[in-house]
Symmetry: C2
């Protein structure tokens, strides 16, 4: 195994074992390199890799720190990974969302505070009559994001967030708007909101299922007539 990979494992080990706690500062590059028995160059490669997945945070002129290691932060890194997937796996991702989002919406109906719900309402009303594609995407994303937040489970929230990444959703919306399905989406969002506001988890779950399934259905058709794969 390359020394760099070894270094990655060792740093990982130091963090997991507790030798390095969240927020701790690592020894300076030169010292840590000597301690791990490799050159600064190689160590930097290891640090950079751990940086990409948000485990480490380097600040020029200051030092290298272990991040908070919160689920949100770490799962956020998954967005980066999801971006790489091609169109032919979009349906698979959507199928996962079809499992997660209804469950999350039901949880949100139970766990959201009144303030959260009020903000959700504001979000729905904040959308103008003929919105641009950008504001539509942003509004849709934020709506589902608030619900995910409302579950009270940061892991679930981050996971949904990643899966609904801007890329995937943007692609979906770009087509959806052309079909004029905006109104229906807005109605369904409203229905989901009403169910949450009424504290009806099962109703909320059902509307969420309807919502996601509609998108899935449309996407399946769009992909079917567009690409001829499989």
């Amino acid at each position: 195994m390359p020394v760099t990979d070894e270094a990655i494992d060792k740093i990982k080990g130091m963090i997991i074992s507790g030798e390095l706690a969240p927020g701790d500062r690592l020894p300076k590059e030169a010292d840590l390199a000597q301690h791990l028995g490799l050159s600064r160059s190689s160590l930097r490669e290891a640090v950079k890799a751990l940086c990409l997945i948000r485990v480490l945070d380097v600040r020029q002129g200051d030092g290298t720190y272990v991040t908070s290691l919160e689920p949100k932060l770490l799962l956020d890194a998954m967005t980066f990974v999801v971006d790489f997937h091609r169109d032919d796996t979009v349906l698979d991702f959507l199928a996962v969302r079809r499992i997660l989002e209804p469950a999350a919406t039901a949880m949100a109906a139970t766990n959201m505070t009144e303030e959260d719900i009020a903000e959700l309402a504001k979000l729905l009303e904040g959308l103008e009559e003929s919105p641009t594609v950008e504001s539509l995407v942003a509004n849709d994303l934020e709506f589902h994001r608030r619900i995910a937040l409302g579950t009270g489970n940061p892991v679930l929230c981050s996971l949904i967030d990643s899966l609904s990444g801007p890329t995937t959703r943007a692609r979906i919306w770009r087509g959806l708007t052309q079909e004029g399905a905006v109104a229906k989406t807005r109605e369904q969002h409203r229905a989901i909101y009403d169910a949450i506001a009424a504290r009806e988890p099962e109703l909320a779950r059902s509307w969420a299922t309807v919502h996601i399934s509609g998108v899935e259905q449309w996407l399946r058709n769009a992909l079917g007539e567009h690409g001829e794969n499989s």
Copy 2:
């Protein structure tokens, strides 16, 4: 933004835009470095980072290649991330599994082939009477893994795989075995299998829910009496 991060984005862009397809070989370090306008050292840091998340695959003496970018490969990288989470978020992860696994089990009851089911049976029978902790963990992991595979959705499968990472599960089992709950777990596995073999998705879903909830319940108690946090 540091030049290395820029390089990461550029390489990512080249892949997403299709300029670099899965399996393609990148230009050699020196050339790519010049093309991107940075030094080899900095480029190597970028490559190493993309390597950690399985987007690139470097082979000494050969070259650097874009991986297949399959969901399994990319989501696998998430296992690395999940390893960093501390005990206080285990319940949150388990809550997500409680959503995903029942749904997956139901899907498996519909989609698994007869061969898959036969192998699942073999797996259950293959466990000796008084297994070691290691074989127990391995068997349990493989059982749920086969079911996840049986959904036919690689994204869902990899996701479940990552969340049920060895670390988390090992910790859970270590305690479970001490309580003598092995028999009950085995019964539930058997019940899940029977439901799948009978092609009863809803029954399979219910048993999976029962199974996961049992683990969750036990874990909640164990954490409650052990740690005094929150």
